[in-house]
Amino acid sequence: MPVLRRFLGTAEGIAGGAILLAIAITAVLASVLFPGDPLAIVAEPMLQPFQHQDAILGTDRLGRDVLAELVHGARTSLLVGLAAAFAAIAVGATVGTIAGFAGGLVDEALMRVTEAFQTVPGFLLALALVSVVGPSLPVVVTAIAASAWTQPARIARAEVLSIRERDYVASARAIGMHPAEIAFREVLPNALPPVLTLASVIVANAILIEAALSFLGLGDPNIVTWGGMIAEGRVVLRGAPYLSIFPGLALVATVLGVYLTGEGVVEALASGRSR
């Protein structure tokens, strides 16, 4: 895998990859490291961090283990980030491909819809959707994806507009291939690479939007989230700042890890192409 080697040759790739890998392993092993409900009360409330063996990072106002919450929160953040980005790219690439390939009125209509979505700030759209439908993980993911698919759609469309003029598309038409098959089997896979370079930004954004929604109390109430922890800690910010600082740091580290990984991938692919 020359791309992987080039990826690990970049500073961004090493740093981002290491951070992300650590967080991902933590998230995957969450229920092994901390079996049971992370929202269960395990000790006295408001224990200071680094002083008690069974709650290394201390406990919150209700006596829940902060470290257990953090580890389980990593799972939520990554899950929401990846699911929302996947949905946004899938929807965006499909819409962009149909618009670019069909052209004419279909293109006009789809692009107007895309623009309409784009004029609403993404966070407000997500906020509105979750407030209306009610907070649950699938709704949060859908809401974030609904605000993030427009950029992939525009990039996919631009790419498709150039690809559909290529000879291999003419050749597919000449053998009698159905237009839908041409669009999704011949054109779309070749339009994807530039769309995928957006993935890291979308994932990072989705993680932040999820945290913001949870901070406002619009996250899934049955699941630990870093945003929810920060909101909890805010109430006692003076006495126990660590309750907000730890999830805040986790959030920053994750977003940074995702972003750096994305940069590393783009750089690795670019240096591969210029060779």
Binding site: D167, Y168, S171, A172, A174, N190
Partner: protein, 263 residues
């Protein structure tokens, strides 16, 4: 006299670009009979590719009529049009650009077999191997990516893809221009052999009279979107009438000095 396989009447096409219009095709008439090779020659920009692609319904003309197997080709839409395409195929100039960068050799040849249901799915691998052998390639090539084989091999794969559905007409747009001289001669031989075996008609687009002489029965000379001259290959080379034909003959010096030499 038999009915023409392809009959083009009064075909016209204009391109509008950045305010100006280019007349790419201007009242084209031509006829092509089963099993025959008609060469279409002309300088750069004379409209050869536009004509080829219009006949394939890849470009829509503004005026005129195309009849294929006696049917009105321009009236066909959707499913009808796609079904008709099994009998009317094309080979493109640049074999690199004409294949999806992700395609394997097997997939490139399987597509027409699958789309037109030429053989049942379980027999396709065998048919792909047969087609590869017919165009002079090893069936071991099937798993390779089309972009990982040589230009000559790739053009043979394009020919295998074109003949997979037993077409009656193949339009070849500068199909051998991108190939080395030695490879070109072999591919031309292959085309001649296939024509003898299957009775396929060719519309052979080229700007190289040396190549045309070797494969074509008749030649039509295109200039600024019009057919300005039509003759047998030998007559055209010996006695060109139009300015366009004279320029083409002059541009192919080996014809002048040794007219009998094979290319």
């Amino acid at each position: 006299m038999t009915q023409p396989l392809l009959e083009v009447r009064g075909l016209g096409k204009r391109f509008r670009r950045a305010g100006s219009t280019v007349t790419a095709l201007d009242g084209i008439n031509l006829q092509l009979y089963p099993g025959e090779t008609l060469a279409l020659v002309g300088g750069s920009g004379s409209g050869k590719s536009t004509l080829a692609r219009t006949i394939l319904r890849l470009i829509e003309p503004d005026a005129g009529e195309i009849r294929f197997e006696g049917e009105d080709l321009l009236a066909k839409r959707g499913r009808d049009l796609r079904a008709m395409r099994s009998r009317l195929q094309m080979v493109f100039q640049d074999p690199h650009a004409a294949f999806n960068p992700r395609a394997t050799v097997a997939r490139a040849i399987e597509d027409p077999l699958r789309i037109h249901d030429v053989v049942p799915a379980r027999d396709r691998p065998r048919r792909i191997a047969e087609l590869l052998e017919r165009v002079g390639l090893s069936s071991e090539l099937a798993t390779r990516n089309v972009h990982d084989i040589s230009g000559g091999q790739r053009q043979r794969v394009a020919i295998a893809r074109a003949i997979a559905t037993h077409p009656r007409l193949i339009v070849l747009d500068e199909a051998v221009s991108a190939l080395d001289v030695s490879v070109r001669a072999k591919v031309l031989d292959l085309l001649v052999t296939l024509q003898e075996q299957e009775g396929i008609a060719y519309l052979f687009v080229s700007h190289d009279l040396g190549v045309v002489k070797k494969i074509a029965d008749r030649v039509a000379v295109l200039d600024h979107g019009r057919i300005v001259e039509s003759a047998t290959a030998d007559d055209l080379i010996r006695n060109p009438q139009s300015d366009a034909a004279k320029a083409l003959v002059a541009a192919t010096p080996r014809l002048k000095y040794s007219p009998e030499r094979e290319v």
